[in-house]
Symmetry: C2
Subunit: 184 residues, 2 copies
């Protein structure tokens, strides 16, 4: 951010009164421009013993497989965002049964929220952002061609939890760059 989106003046980095961190502030109109994490809402679409995945037709990770997910929009709920993304990417309709995984990615200021749900029909197919959409059993999942760590972890949790039939909400932070000395 270089310019104030309210008045067009050049912004400066400063700690506002009562705050404890640097923000982009406008010396002309005094607007403080906060920057905060974004939510990525998605689904784990299920049918019998299989999971629906999409092969990405867009960067990043073109050609890799993912659960349908994308940036939550203003004016919608997290569940509506998850269902909208599933429709846009996979033409998939489902009945959600709750939040399943919650991942914070502090290095890139993203929070993933993946909801578990049952497909209500099998008329799915690739939307404009997907090359292919298909159902996979645990053995069939292309584990080496998954797009993002959050998708791998969600699938790993799911197949582990399925053994017990218990699906507690799984929440964790994921770091790409580990602090020095802490290994991989």
């Amino acid at each position: 951010m270089k310019f104030c989106s309210q008045c067009g003046a050049a912004v400066a980095l400063a700690i506002p009164a009562g705050d404890d961190r640097h923000r982009h502030v406008c010396p002309s109109c005094d607007t403080i421009h906060y920057q905060n994490p974004n939510i990525i809402a998605g689904c784990l679409p299920l049918h019998e013993d299989r999971v629906l995945l999409c092969k990405r037709a867009i960067e990043p990770r073109y050609g890799y497989w993912t659960l349908p997910a994308g940036f939550m929009e203003n004016g919608e709920s997290t569940e509506e965002g998850a269902l909208r993304e599933s429709w846009e990417e996979a033409r998939a309709r489902m009945k959600l049964d709750g939040l399943y995984t919650l991942f914070s990615l502090p290095e890139i200021n993203q929070v993933y929220m993946i909801f578990k749900g049952e497909l209500t029909d099998l008329d799915f197919g690739p939307g404009p952002e997907s090359l292919e959409v298909a159902l996979f059993t645990e053995d069939e999942i292309p584990w080496d061609e998954l797009a993002f760590p959050v998708m791998r972890k969600t699938l790993e949790y799911y197949f582990a939890d399925r053994k017990s039939g218990n699906f507690p909400v799984r929440s964790e932070a994921i770091y790409r760059k580990r602090p020095a000395g802490q290994g991989q």
Copy 2:
């Protein structure tokens, strides 16, 4: 948003290629300025049969009681944000045991995430944004002086769930303005 934060030119509302909704776009440098919901992370701090609440020293809802919560910052996890806010507002330290309530407020583009946790000590007290911090049993809670519907709902869920000892994640969307004809 009136000006491009990258180059300072006046922005326009337009539907970018491949998109389906209006965004603020810059006709000069082509930046698309997405606007997305913000996360408010907070805690339900518990000690024996009591819950910690803060009396707000800031607007909105000055003088009303709330659970400690605030905007999640870049560079932190949702749990870190919840714990930071509890420290800032109530000087409270706790051990979290998971997400408890998740509220979408589509009309104001906010998502509340409240984590349940046990206080690890009773050395709490008002931070700069609180007038007072105290523990309340269910009967003592100032139900008519709660700051926000999400706090009331979290407390209602908690005292109801406490009867069974089961605390599933509660997720729902809250609207202030009901669609016409649907009553209060």
